[in-house]
């Protein structure tokens, strides 16, 4: 048995502070001054003191940690490397009105579903959709990803994507899955002040955003 993060709980280090996301409970949180060193012992594989062990028991009771038979020591969310962002380039891309219209409808539906059901449901729905197609997914060509990035940029301006980064990222990622392209949706956080953001990356290409926006955020969960 190994004390691990409970399923659905992820974390990242931001400027020396650990930020956690509990997807099942729909909360961002941090650890207090006594719990954080205890958690640090787990991360570093150090034997916790008796006092730290009591803190870890409290985190387990709170559903943050779990004793899992094949669990791993807690590790922060991995980085998501980005080599290019088409929206930062001056590319002439053409797309059909029909494809803009279908994308706009998909984004509107994603916004509406997200408003009603929140992140946990939207995340698990996208997970199921991705898992059902996993074996068919391939890396997208540069021209395919350029078309997606610029088409959804136009859709975002038309439908309104500001402050709707989660449904926007899920909509463009779902369009990737429909085209059998590999894609990841990333949730990221920053401090001073605390903010969260979501974006979509296909391979190493940022397709939902500009690099200057996402580079401020540290990934905390990837799907």
């Amino acid at each position: 048995m190994m004390v691990s993060l409970a399923p659905g709980v992820t974390f990242c280090d931001v400027d020396g502070s650990r930020i956690f996301l509990d997807l099942n409970r729909d909360r961002y949180f941090s650890l207090g001054p006594l719990a954080d060193p205890a958690f640090d012992a787990l991360v570093r594989g150090r034997r916790p003191s008796d006092a730290e062990r009591r803190r870890l028991d409290i985190l387990a009771e709170a559903g943050i940690l779990a004793d899992l038979p094949f669990g791993e020591a807690p590790r922060p969310c991995r980085p998501v490397p980005i080599d290019r962002a088409p929206l930062d380039e001056d590319i002439a891309v053409t797309f059909s009105t029909m494809r803009v219209a279908t994308g706009a409808i998909a984004f509107r539906l994603a916004k509406s579903a997200y408003r009603r059901r929140g992140l946990p449901r939207a995340w698990s729905r996208f997970r199921r959709s991705k898992e059902s197609r996993l074996s068919a997914l391939r890396a997208g060509s540069a021209s395919e990803l350029d078309e997606l990035a610029y088409r959804f940029d136009a859709i975002g301006r038309m439908v309104g994507s500001l402050n709707h980064c989660v449904p926007f990222s899920l909509a463009i990622a779902s369009a990737c899955l429909a085209a059998e392209l590999k894609v990841e949706v990333v949730l990221g956080v920053k401090l001073r002040p605390f903010q969260a953001h979501a974006w979509a990356v296909a391979g190493r290409t940022l397709i939902s955003d500009r690099l200057s926006t996402v580079s401020q955020f540290t990934p905390i969960a990837i799907l």
Binding site: R27, G32, I58, P167, P193, F194
Partner: protein, 39 residues
Amino acid sequence: MERDNDLIDLGSASVETQGPVFGHKDELIGQNVAGLTDD
């Protein structure tokens, strides 16, 4: 009560459903978050 000191709530991850925080807005979301900073 110990649990309350050990977990500092930073807010809902679905804040688009609850308030204008998730996204680009430059706002603090609570007193506890201010406590995270060195300010």
